[in-house]
Structure formats: structure tokens, C-alpha cells
């Protein structure tokens, strides 16, 4: 029992953070024609991160992706497609640098699908791998300027699995990656508001000196502190299908969504009128938050899973059931 990332992972996280903050500062989010960082992400080894790290540890890196609201849809390929293809012994079906967009009943609008090398398409009991030209894409407009969405109707492609397992796995991977990004976003928005409150003056002093302002952000920080371990716990459950995984993942998505939405609401409040402008950077992070809150299972969806577990399936509750007692082989 060790609820802690390794020191190597923390070093990797630090490196990833400084790379992402350096290459994707908030100003870049205003430059829609900014050259893609995809090649650099590949070079950093982030694309096949789940080949080199256990899924449980890779979660920490998506926190960093969220922190900078990275425009490149890294999670679709790195957090979802790579592990799913590997689980289906189909890793060879994509080039190691290729980009995969994902379309799933819980994520029905594929992001940047037209520019992807492949689309991984999940039905309830079937998985298809398509080229973008093997699908009819109908554009949908996201509130997030960096998410180019479309619905996907396959007209070709290859069936690579016919079971619900891969779809369930993708749903869990997608929800945990989105949850991790939401943690990073929440942290970023709290920090932005903290910085703003330290410089904006009213009544002759920084508004951050006022307790009413402090407590808004303290509350957001408390919510975040108690969402983070829930997401890490779900990351550890990813490899093992079953009720425990389903509930851990659902809990993670609810906790991370609540923490990030709450952080966004406190952050805009602290920014005052500036927070409601396009000029302040905050809106990029709020919009990514709203997007990630919606996909890979909304709050409603995941609360339903937990409700089922607690009231219908009678999952073990109470202090003796914090974790599974048996040591699983090979995980």
C-alpha cells in the first residue's frame, strides 16, 4: 500500500510542466494560427506515455496538460487510443507518431477529426478504426475555441473488436484523463485568481487581503485537495475491469468536475468585471472546463453509476472497504 507517485514520476511531471508552460503560455491560446506542437509532444515521449508508464502514473501528466489548456488533443491519442489499441493487440495499426481522434457514445463529438490520421469509433459492442475520409463528418461548434468538433458517421474502415469491453475501457480511460485535466484546470484558475487578487486594488489595498475574497479561493482549494486523490485512486483502478473500477472512475469524474466548475465560478467572481471579458485569459480555461465536464460522462451519468453501486448493487461501503484487500497479480 503506497498512495504516492514515484520520485521519477514527479521528476517527469515537473519536466512536462515546464515544457508545456514554456511552449503553451496563455498568449498562445489567442493565436489560432499557432504552429502545432504535435511533433514536440511526440519527441517528449508523451504520445506513447502509457507504453512506458503504468496507467496509474500517466494520470499525473494529464493534470499538466489541463493546467495549460493545451490545444493539441493529446489525451485522445495518448490516454485513450494507445491503451485501447494495445489491449486489442492492435497497436501496430497506427504509426507511432500518428494522431487518433476518438468518437464514443460518451464523447460523440470527435475533436479535430478531419486532421487526424485515424478515428477510433466506438459503438456499444464494436470498435472501428477509420481514416477521416472513411467517415462523414458533420461540424459542431464548441464553446472552446480550440475544440473543433464533428459527429462521425462511418462509411468504411476496419472493425477491430466486437465486444463491449473495449468500449467500457475507453470510457474509463477517457473519464480519468478528463478528470486529471480538470484538476490541472482547477489549479490554474485558482492560481490566476490568486495572482489577480494580489495586484488588483480597491479601498486602497489588494483585494486579496479581504477575507471574503480569501475564503472564496480557500473553498475552491479545499474542493481541489479532496478531488485529487479521488482521481489518482481511479487511475489505479483502470487496469482492472469491474464494479470497483466503474465506481472509482465515476467518483473521479464527479469530484474533478465539481472542483473545476467551482474553481471557475470563484475565479471569475474574484476577477470581477475583468473576468467577464474576452481580454482576460480566464475564459480559455473556463471553456475547456465546461467542455471536459460534459464529455466522457456528465455529472448526471456518473452520479447514476454511483447511485446504482450504492443502492442497487450494494457495493461494500464502510471503513473496512477503503481498498481491495487482495493483492492482484501483475497490477
Amino acid at each position: 500500500m503506497r498512495f504516492l507517485f514515484s520520485e521519477d514520476l514527479e521528476t517527469l511531471r515537473e519536466g512536462t510542466r515546464s515544457f508545456l508552460e514554456g511552449r503553451n503560455p496563455a498568449e498562445r491560446l489567442r493565436q489560432q494560427d499557432s504552429p502545432s506542437l504535435w511533433g514536440e509532444l511526440v519527441e517528449m515521449g508523451l504520445l506513447d506515455i502509457t507504453d512506458s508508464l503504468p496507467l496509474a502514473e500517466s494520470v499525473a501528466l494529464f493534470e499538466e496538460v489541463g493546467r495549460v489548456a493545451l490545444p493539441e488533443p493529446l489525451a485522445d491519442t495518448a490516454a485513450i487510443a494507445v491503451p485501447v489499441l494495445r489491449s486489442l493487440d492492435a497497436a501496430a495499426k497506427r504509426a507511432s507518431t500518428s494522431r487518433v481522434a476518438v468518437c464514443h457514445p460518451l464523447c460523440p463529438f470527435a475533436n479535430q477529426a478531419a486532421d487526424a490520421d485515424h478515428i477510433l469509433y466506438f459503438d456499444v459492442d464494436r470498435v472501428l478504426l477509420l481514416k477521416p475520409e472513411e467517415a462523414e463528418l458533420a461540424t459542431q461548434e464548441s464553446i472552446d475555441p480550440w475544440r473543433t468538433l464533428s459527429t462521425v458517421r462511418p462509411i468504411g474502415g476496419e472493425v477491430i473488436a466486437e465486444s463491449s469491453g473495449a468500449s467500457d475501457f475507453a470510457a474509463a480511460l477517457g473519464a480519468v484523463a478528463a478528470s486529471a485535466e480538470l484538476l490541472g484546470l482547477a489549479d490554474r484558475m485558482i492560481r490566476m485568481a490568486t495572482d489577480y487578487a494580489a495586484t488588483r486594488e480597491q479601498f486602497g489595498k489588494p483585494i486579496g487581503t479581504f477575507q471574503a475574497v480569501k475564503h472564496l479561493l480557500a473553498n475552491a482549494q479545499v474542493k481541489l485537495e479532496f478531488a485529487r486523490p479521488v482521481v489518482y485512486r481511479a487511475g489505479f483502478a483502470l487496469e482492472t475491469p469491474g464494479l470497483t473500477r466503474d465506481i472509482a472512475v465515476a467518483h473521479a469524474k464527479v469530484a474533478a468536475t465539481d472542483a473545476a466548475i467551482f474553481a471557475a465560478e470563484q475565479a471569475i467572481q474574484v476577477h470581477g468585471g475583468m473576468g467577464y471579458t474576452f481580454e482576460a485569459d480566464l475564459h480559455f480555461f473556463m471553456k475547456r472546463t465546461w467542455a471536459l465536464a460534459a464529455i466522457w460522462g456528465s455529472r448526471e451519468h456518473h452520479l447514476g453509476v454511483i447511485d446504482q453501486g450504492l443502492f442497487t448493487q450494494s457495493v461494500g461501503t464502510g471503513p473496512q472497504n477503503s481498498f481491495q484487500h487482495k493483492k492482484a497479480n501483475g497490477s
Binding site: 475564503h215 482549494q221 469530484a255 454511483i306 450504492l310 471503513p319 484487500h325 493483492k327
Partner: protein, 377 residues
């Protein structure tokens, strides 16, 4: 990251479970805030000591088992699952004990810890004063050094367990010319010392759970100083760190309450509203979240890390969770919610949670200023 228990941890859990199954009193003990209940709980502490379960994390020579923090969490999980009695010795074992371990001399550790673990000496806290509640640095009660003796004069208030306890520990102003955080010292003293007067204060439920302590020329040997003279603030902050951070309220306590709340919901499912069902679900999630967070903190500490100001988040989280859970339970209880019963008792006690151990407003200030770095002022 490995969230499976080892074989040794599972075996330890089994050992705890077996002992508790054979020893936990079948009947709920009377409240330890009554004289009868206090002694019944002291007897339970002695029973725990017989099984060597007084404080499992302490070294063997001080009455412990040398367990690590994960084993402590396992012990707590079994303890709460078994409905074992509340720990009347909690001020000592959970707060002063770890502080002694860090700041005490070997002689002090040997003198105090075993008697603490066995329930032979039960401790009260003496922090707050009428003019020093949330603003603890405003402490005025003086301890004047005369040779190898401190002479204490002044008054403490809201001292939990002080009515029946044997000893107290607290902060006193040892440098008469000092102000605020400087010039305070942590001193340990027997509550039966000449010059000590205890005036019980009835709590919400009418029982004398806390008290005022008056000091009138109380003489205490200087060897009862814990940590550096005039450096008591740092010692107290370490204690407060344990209190808020990890030990005082283990997650098992809230997981057990959440489990009981779920059972209560099921009993009343026909009349319960969706709103309460949502509150019950949220309670279960939050109790789990507190558990995961504590395992993470324990792992960090076991890996050589330290507890920082972020622990102020804990106190806010668990105290408001506890209140919410009891509120939901009363909502499910219908007209019977008015009657004296464990959920109502629990609700009343849960109202104290956001107040004691540093009011939640203070905790939020600490989070804002020391975690987020917001400006003071």
C-alpha cells in the same frame, strides 16, 4: 502507487479484528463527559492496553507496537467498524503524544507516554483563554520562572475533558515582556496541583464536556516544560498540525458514519426524497475522498515527506462533512429526529467540529495565506 494491502497488512487487520470482536463492550458506554462514563472509558483504555492496542504507532518501549501510519489507518478502520468506544484519551494519544515524540526529552517520553497509552493518565488541553480563542497568540496566562519552578497565574477556557482528566498541557506566557507569538511556552501540569480550580461548563447536551481552568499561584517544576522555553508557539503549531492534519479524526470515523447513513436511508427508502438520496451519495463520496487523501498523506510522511499548511483543508472538509451527514440523517428520521438519540447527539457534536481545533474561518485564512500565498492584511 500501489493501492493493495500487503499480506502482512491483511494479517495485521485480521489480528485487530479478532481482538476487537472479543473485547469491545456489547453495550454502548455512557458519555465520557459524565463521571461514570469517563471512568468506564478509562477502563476501556486499560483493556486496550492489555491487548497492547493503546497507541499502535508508538515505539514498543512507550507502550506502542511500532506500527507505521498505514497500519494505524487499518487499526482505525477496524476500530470504527467494530463500534468500539470513543477514545477518552484522545488529547493525549493523538495530540500531545506525537508532540512529545518530536520535542520531548527521553526522560519526558518515558515519564508520560506509557501512562498515556494505558489510560492511567488522561489529558486535557489548555489552549484557549477568554481573550484568546481564534487569536491564540493573545494568550495572557503567565508562567513566571522562579529558579526551577514556574508560577502560573491566569485562566484557560474550553478545555475539553478537564473536568475529569488528570493532566493538562497548554501554552503559557513565560516571558512577561513578550507579545503575540513570542515568549510562550508549552507546559505540562497535573490538574490536582494546589491552586488549580476547575469550573465545568455544560455543553449543548448538558454534560460537562469542557471546563474553565483557573490558575492561582500554581507551582510547576521547570522540567515540565516541553520544547524550548519561549518557543512554545512552534511546539503548539506542531500539535495543531497533527490535530488538523492526520490523527485527531481518522477517515474511518466518517466512513463509518456514511455507512450508517446509507443503512438509515435504506430503512426509510419508501419515504425518502431524491434530495436526501443525493445528500447520502455525496456523503459517501466525501468520506471516501477523505480516506484517499489521508492514505496519500500517510504515504507521503512514510516516504520522508512533511505535513504542511495544506492540512488546514482537512479540518474544513471533515468537520463540514460530519455536519452534513448528521443533518441528512435527521432529515430521514422524521418526527423522531426531535427525540434524544445517537443521530441527534451526533448532530450536536458535529456542530462543534467547525469550531474546535481552530475555527474553520481561521483554517480558511491559513489555506488562503499559506497555501495560496494571498496577502495578509
Amino acid at each position: 502507487m500501489d493501492l493493495h494491502y500487503t499480506d502482512a497488512q491483511n494479517a495485521f487487520r485480521q489480528e485487530v479484528r479478532t481482538w476487537l470482536a472479543g473485547n469491545v463492550p456489547a453495550k454502548r458506554l455512557p458519555s465520557f463527559d459524565t463521571e461514570e462514563g469517563f471512568e468506564a472509558h478509562r477502563a476501556w483504555e486499560r483493556k486496550l492496553k492489555e491487548g497492547n492496542w493503546g497507541m499502535v504507532t508508538w515505539p514498543k518501549e512507550y507502550g506502542g507496537r511500532g506500527c507505521d501510519l498505514i497500519e494505524w489507518l487499518i487499526f482505525e478502520e477496524e476500530y470504527f467498524a467494530a463500534n468500539a468506544p470513543g477514545r477518552v484519551s484522545q488529547n493525549g494519544i493523538f495530540l500531545l503524544g506525537p508532540t512529545l515524540m518530536e520535542y520531548g526529552t527521553d526522560a519526558q517520553k518515558a515519564r508520560y507516554l506509557p501512562a498515556m497509552a494505558s489510560g492511567d493518565e488522561i489529558w486535557a488541553q489548555a489552549w484557549s483563554e477568554p481573550g484568546a480563542g481564534s487569536d491564540m497568540a493573545a494568550i495572557r496566562t503567565k508562567a513566571v520562572r522562579e529558579g526551577d519552578t514556574y508560577v502560573i497565574n491566569g485562566q484557560k477556557i474550553w478545555s475539553s475533558r478537564a473536568v475529569f482528566a488528570d493532566w493538562c498541557f497548554g501554552l503559557f506566557r513565560t516571558d512577561p515582556d513578550s507579545a503575540r507569538h513570542k515568549g510562550l511556552s508549552m507546559i505540562l501540569l497535573p490538574l490536582n496541583s494546589p491552586g488549580v480550580t476547575i469550573r465545568p461548563i455544560a455543553q449543548l447536551d448538558g454534560d460537562p464536556g469542557f471546563a474553565e481552568i483557573f490558575f492561582d499561584d500554581v507551582r510547576v517544576p521547570s522540567e515540565n516544560l516541553l520544547g524550548p522555553e519561549h518557543g512554545g508557539w512552534g511546539v503548539a503549531m506542531a500539535t495543531a498540525g497533527f490535530e488538523r492534519g492526520l490523527m485527531l479524526r481518522s477517515p474511518a470515523r466518517f466512513q463509518r458514519t456514511a455507512e450508517k447513513l446509507l443503512a438509515l436511508y435504506r430503512e426509510n427508502e419508501d419515504t425518502a426524497s431524491p434530495a436526501t438520496r443525493a445528500a447520502v451519495t455525496q456523503a459517501w463520496m466525501d468520506a471516501q475522498a477523505y480516506c484517499y487523501s489521508t492514505y496519500m498523506t500517510a504515504s507521503k510522511l512514510m516516504n520522508g515527506g512533511a505535513v504542511g499548511p495544506e492540512t488546514s483543508c482537512n479540518k474544513v472538509f471533515w468537520s463540514e462533512l460530519d455536519r452534513a451527514m448528521h443533518r441528512a440523517a435527521l432529515s430521514l428520521s422524521g418526527a423522531a429526529a426531535e427525540l434524544d438519540a445517537p443521530w441527534l447527539d451526533g448532530y450536536m457534536f458535529s456542530l462543534a467540529g467547525p469550531i474546535y481545533a481552530g475555527a474553520n474561518e481561521i483554517q480558511r485564512n491559513i489555506v488562503a495565506e499559506r497555501v495560496l500565498g494571498m496577502p495578509r492584511g
